[in-house]
């Protein structure tokens, strides 16, 4: 990565919120192709609102937001941004297989009257495999472990081959063993050049995957730099305020 890669996401003085009231503001942030950015911050810091803003799920109130060089509001194909939400149930009150859930990631790509093609079905299997679930494509998602369900959602986001993946707490509430598998899936994606922004408060689970850290606190970006730089920043913060940084 000698020459800077083109930006996938570019924010200039951006503010996001709900019902006209900003939750995060003055955000300058550039995510370049191939980067894996961890978005850190305590609960209520605005980090989730920021990521949801990029998905059109919270309101974009001011500033500039460009995805792949196009202003967010005019982005024709929303599946360019892959979204991995934090979920307790995957399909509501019915049974569905892993492949059925993952296939929904392709729907917005084709007109409503067109049924799934052979290429679509192959893309579903490829995404399921990339998430390490090839063995389980036909199992009911409710029978899977929490970590496996999280990977079903990753596969659903991957299936449309997005330019950037936005993940909301992918490792939260996942037991230790599945966390290792999850981390290795993320590492494999990172090695394959997938651009990712991961909202988390468990940086340790993502060690070796993340190459940049953005910290959000009280509605503003308070740090943007390398993991090494972040350790220094945390140390300085702890010394200056005389308290140990708990997060």
């Amino acid at each position: 990565m000698s020459a800077p890669a083109p930006p996938v996401v570019e924010l200039r003085g951006a503010a996001f919120g709900y019902r006209g009231r900003p939750v995060v503001s003055d955000v300058d942030l550039t995510v370049r192709r191939g980067e894996v950015v961890a978005v850190l911050g305590p609960n209520g810091s605005g980090k989730t609102t920021l990521v949801k803003g990029l998905l059109g799920l919270s309101e974009h109130l001011s500033g500039q937001v460009e995805v792949l060089g196009t202003p967010l509001a005019r982005l024709p194909d929303r599946t360019r941004i892959g979204y991995v939400p934090q979920r307790h149930t995957l399909v509501g009150g019915v049974r569905a297989t892993v492949a059925e859930v993952v296939a929904t990631g392709l729907l917005a790509r084709r007109p409503w009257y067109r049924p799934a093609t052979r290429a679509d079905r192959e893309a579903v299997l490829a995404a399921v495999e990339a998430a390490g679930l090839a063995d389980r494509a036909r199992f009911d998602v409710e029978t899977l472990s929490g970590g496996q369900q999280r990977r079903v959602l990753i596969a659903r986001a991957l299936v449309a081959r997005p330019d950037v993946l936005l993940m909301d707490e992918p490792t939260a509430g996942v037991d230790r063993a599945s966390q290792d598998v999850l981390t290795s899936v993320l590492r494999r994606l990172a090695d394959a050049g997938t651009t990712m922004a991961i909202v988390t408060h468990e940086l340790s689970a993502l060690r070796g995957v993340v190459d940049r850290i953005v910290e959000v606190d009280t509605g503003h970006v308070t740090f943007d730099g390398t993991p090494e730089g972040y350790a220094v920043h945390q140390g300085a913060l702890a010394r200056s305020s005389g308290r140990t940084a708990a997060r």
């Binding site: 979204y83 399909v91 090839a134 063995d135 063993a177």
Partner: protein, 341 residues
């Protein structure tokens, strides 16, 4: 039995039952998925007001009910999309207002005798006319066609609305469409099942189908089979026992649900007995995990310290070439070692 089919009204009732048995579960599965099982019930209440308007103004009650229920459906979805508690109360007003207006208007135009009202509320096999039958056939065809074509989208929106919105699907439009389809189903069912019981045929066959299937696709098929069995069977039984068809249909649907629950339970129990689970298996197999992969029928086993492991749901199964009872006690000890490594 054959005499039954020679009666005009019975032929009409059986065909109407077939239509609604097909259509109701296909719409209902999305209501079950959205955990909105009672919305069909509410729209039945609203449709009663429409029926009453039809009777009072001497128009076809099926058509006035269709218009009223469809309008109610749109209002409901707009309210739901808007907000929380006020929307909930507004729904209650709409539902109770619908049934209250229906009863009052019908009483005003027909006097205190309630035979007609009862047949609208609980269904009757003697009331479907030939003209209505054509309307029901067309409406059912529309319901079946639309749900078949839009099934993936309705499934996506009902399963994860936020994700659907983020990926660019027209969530509000699809939700309104589902509500209108529900309203149309209510109207198709109002003759044989009745407006108070129609929701049951959208929900109960789907609840039963969930017991028998592990995929959305299979659940859809099972629900339609059970729905048709209940509705057509219910009309036949209601003719023979001279009971209200709606009540009979719903009781049959519930009986089928109980059977499905027992069958599903037994099947799962047998499956659990027949397969041996590798306990506490922390490692996940996959391409390049370091264990040899051996194709086995429609799946892949992994050789794991002398055991053959195959992914099953959230765990791994032991796939020995011998059935489980052949495993000796010493092998069990070895198994214990391997899985905790």
């Amino acid at each position: 039995m054959s005499a039954m089919f020679e009666l005009d009204f019975m032929r009409n009732a059986l065909l109407a039952a077939l239509f609604v048995g097909l259509a109701a579960p296909m719409v209902g599965i999305f209501l079950v998925q959205r955990r909105l099982s009672l919305i069909g019930d509410g729209l039945g209440h609203v449709a009663l007001a429409g029926v009453a308007i039809g009777i009072a103004t001497d128009r076809a009650p099926v058509l006035t009910a269709l218009v009223t229920a469809a309008l109610g459906a749109v209002v409901i979805e707009l309210l739901r999309a808007r907000g929380r508690t006020s929307g909930d109360l507004a729904l209650a007003m709409l539902f109770y207002g619908g049934i209250a207006a229906g009863v009052v208007i019908i009483n005003r135009s027909e006097g205190a005798q309630t035979g007609n009202l009862t047949s609208f509320l609980f269904g009757s096999i003697a009331t479907t006319t030939r003209g209505e039958l054509v309307t029901f056939a067309v409406l059912s065809a529309v319901i079946v066609g639309v749900t078949l074509v839009l099934r993936p989208r309705l499934f996506a929106v009902a399963g994860d609305e936020e994700y659907a919105r983020a990926s660019g699907l027209p969530v509000l439009a699809l939700n309104i469409l589902l509500a209108v389809l529900t309203a149309v189903t209510v109207v198709v069912a109002m003759r044989v099942i009745g407006l108070l019981l129609i929701s049951a045929l959208m929900i109960v066959p789907n609840a039963a189908a969930q017991q028998l299937s592990g995929s959305f696709r299979a659940a859809n098929l099972w629900a339609v089979v059970l729905g048709v069995l209940s509705s057509v069977g219910g009309v036949v039984v209601s003719y023979q026992l001279d009971t209200a068809s709606g009540g009979t249909i719903v009781l049959i649907a519930i009986a089928l649900f109980v059977v499905a629950m027992v069958v599903g339970h037994v099947v799962r129990l047998v499956a659990r007995r027949r397969h041996l689970r590798a306990e506490r298996h922390a490692h996940e197999h996959g391409p390049g995990c370091g264990h040899e992969a051996v194709p086995h029928g429609d799946h892949v086993d992994y050789l794991h310290d002398g055991h053959r492991h195959a992914a099953h749901e959230g765990h791994y199964d032991e796939h020995s070439d011998h059935p489980p009872p052949a495993e000796g006690p010493d092998q069990d000890a070895r198994h214990e070692q391997e899985v905790t490594r």
